[in-house]
Amino acid sequence: MSTYTAPKKKNLLPKIAMAGPVSVWMILFVTIPMLYVIFISFMSRGVFGDVVYEFSTESYSTILDPTYFQVILKSLKAAGLTTVLCLLIGYPFAYIIARKPKDVAAKMITLLMIPFWTNSLMRLNSWLLLFQTSGPVNNFLVNTGIVDKPISFIYTDELVLIGLITNMLPFAVLPMYSTIEKLEKSMLEASADLGANPRTTFCRITLPITFPGIFSAIILTFIPSLGIYTVTDMLGGGKVLFIGNIIKNQFGSIRNWPLGAALSVLLIVVTMLLIFIYTRFAKIEDMEVV
């Protein structure tokens, strides 16, 4: 018997050593905060906006209000649109980079990343400065006689969408680039040799092989754009509100932490549901994150 137990003990330590720190980290910084959010969502709100530790389901009955569902639907729609546009712009871009020689590709990736060396609020502010009524874009349009009077670009849904796309594009391009880059050229040649035209080759070879990258791109753009609130706050002038803004307001100006927590739980559930659907649809091993 003793010969049986000894190897078992031997095997345990490396496992703890490898998985232990990660587990501790995840428990401390993911599980406990999440449980805390769920806990707060069942508490009551004090007059001062402080959390009163009395059990209440008021926050959940509040979010049953159709208004919140409308906001969530609006956010899902915007995040979906952002994702689709990021894929449509990002895929050809990733394809072009992947087909370039290594040094050129590296330069193009750097160019894609350069704007991200600046703070995202700075980038958003620069959009405002560029497109404001007396900004360079409007000045150019008016001075060249293209339009009679300045166009109101800022504080519109369209500018919010542009802001979201520019913020998310690299997260779509990079995973797709990494799968397209691995695509064997010989496969495309073989396809051509067997008589397939470029379109058939793309649909039956390139696209299926690069699917994992596309899936990762979807997850990496859709989920952050669902919760992001700075873009809508700044480019939408605080009038275009997504679920992220509503949650942020609960912890800020409106000061209803339990409601904010309940809305966060709702967002987490929606996100997990989407990931669940995704894992059913695509194998989890296919997720390829750079």
Binding site: T133, S152, G238
Partner: protein, 351 residues
């Protein structure tokens, strides 16, 4: 080998735990020194609201470090105060509207005004909850407009819901800034606690919201031509008027305008009270505040400082507004704040 690995692992985990607790050790260290004379002052306040030179001079004079952290909303300050702000900060900026509840809740320390002799310069008429706070600057909430581009004449709050102004207004945000305007427009008490009146104000604000292009950045949006009307604080109105001379303050016929007071409080349990009092005394010094007013031209409750201020400040049109007499203060509305917040939420989510 196994033992060695286990010990190593335990060692690493202990070290990382010790690292987590590091900041607490540092805090205790500053506690010890604060028994003598504090060398560190932590202030939580609005950004772009106090001169850097003034802070630097105070640091040099008192051989200390001033750490400024910034809030983005009045609610942030209340969050800090009610969640044990004294652990982190020695001075927190808040406004007169919350003082009663803050004192009742025991969230602020009583200030020994004997240690702040310069506070005698502050006009008592503006000093709510004396003994628990020191007023800093005042904000009139003005309606300003670009006389060249604004399609209508504005003589009261009700003009702001005129459909002609659709997408033409940029305004400051916040329940307690927006609702009083609506309540005054409807002829109610601006600090009403009556739910029906607040509901009516909400309906008014829904119409107002349709005319709003953006919440926040009001004066920039006005000067860069994005909007033609701005609802903003007097200091910001000053900047806008200095930038573009077609910008005017709306000449209200009857409606009272809001006057809010930003003040410093010492949160309960603050660790560097001695230095906080020195700082309060310093900013109440007429010369010091007069310099600050050049950089931040808001209205000031410190009469001696206003008298010592530059001519530019004293002749600023934002200072010479006839209707300054016809003002109302934001008062503490107690429990009714939740009614305000609920309607504000409804306004923001939109139905």
């Amino acid at each position: 080998m196994k033992k060695l690995l286990a010990m190593l692992l335990v060692g690493v985990m202990t070290l990382s735990l010790a690292a987590c607790g590091g900041s607490t050790d540092a805090d205790t260290a500053t506690d010890d020194t604060s028994a003598e004379a504090s060398t560190e002052l932590n202030i939580y306040m609005w950004q772009q609201y106090i001169s850097d030179d003034l802070i630097a001079a105070f640091e040099e004079e008192n051989n200390c470090t001033v750490n400024l952290s910034y809030m983005s909303d009045n609610a942030d300050a209340i969050n800090k105060l009610t969640a044990g702000g004294g652990d982190e900060y020695d001075l927190i900026m808040t406004c007169d509207a919350y003082m009663e509840s803050l004192i009742a809740g025991g969230y602020v320390e009583e200030i020994n005004l004997d240690n702040v002799p310069n506070s005698a310069n502050i006009n008592d008429a503006y000093w709510v909850s004396k003994g628990y706070c020191v007023p800093y600057l005042m904000n009139y909430i003005y309606v300003v407009y670009d006389s060249e581009t604004c399609p209508i004449e504005i003589t009261g709050y009700n003009d702001l819901i005129d459909p002609a102004l659709k997408g033409q207004i940029s305004t400051i945000d916040g329940a307690r800034n927006l609702f009083p305007m609506a309540l005054v427009a409807l002829g109610y008490d601006p600090n009403s606690t009556n739910e029906e009146e607040i509901a009516a104000a909400y309906e008014w604000l829904v119409k107002f919201n349709e005319n709003v292009a953006a919440y926040g950045n009001a004066e920039q949006n006005l000067t860069n031509g994005t909007v033609s009307v701005a609802v903003t604080y007097d200091g910001n109105a000053s900047w806008a008027m200095a930038e573009k001379d077609t910008i005017k303050i709306a000449d209200f016929t009857d409606d009272a305008i809001q006057l809010g007071m930003d003040l410093y409080v010492i949160p309960t349990g603050a660790k560097h009270v001695d230095l906080a009092e020195k700082f309060l005394n310093y900013i109440c010094d007429p010369e010091v505040m007069a310099k600050n007013l050049d950089e931040f031209p808001y209205s000031c409750p410190n009469d001696a400082a206003v008298a010592a201020a530059s001519e530019t400040y004293q002749n600023d049109p934002a200072r010479q507004f006839d209707y300054k007499e016809n003002v109302f203060f934001q008062e503490d509305v107690g429990d009714a704040i939740t009614i305000y917040n609920d309607y504000y939420q409804k306004l923001k989510v939109g139905e």
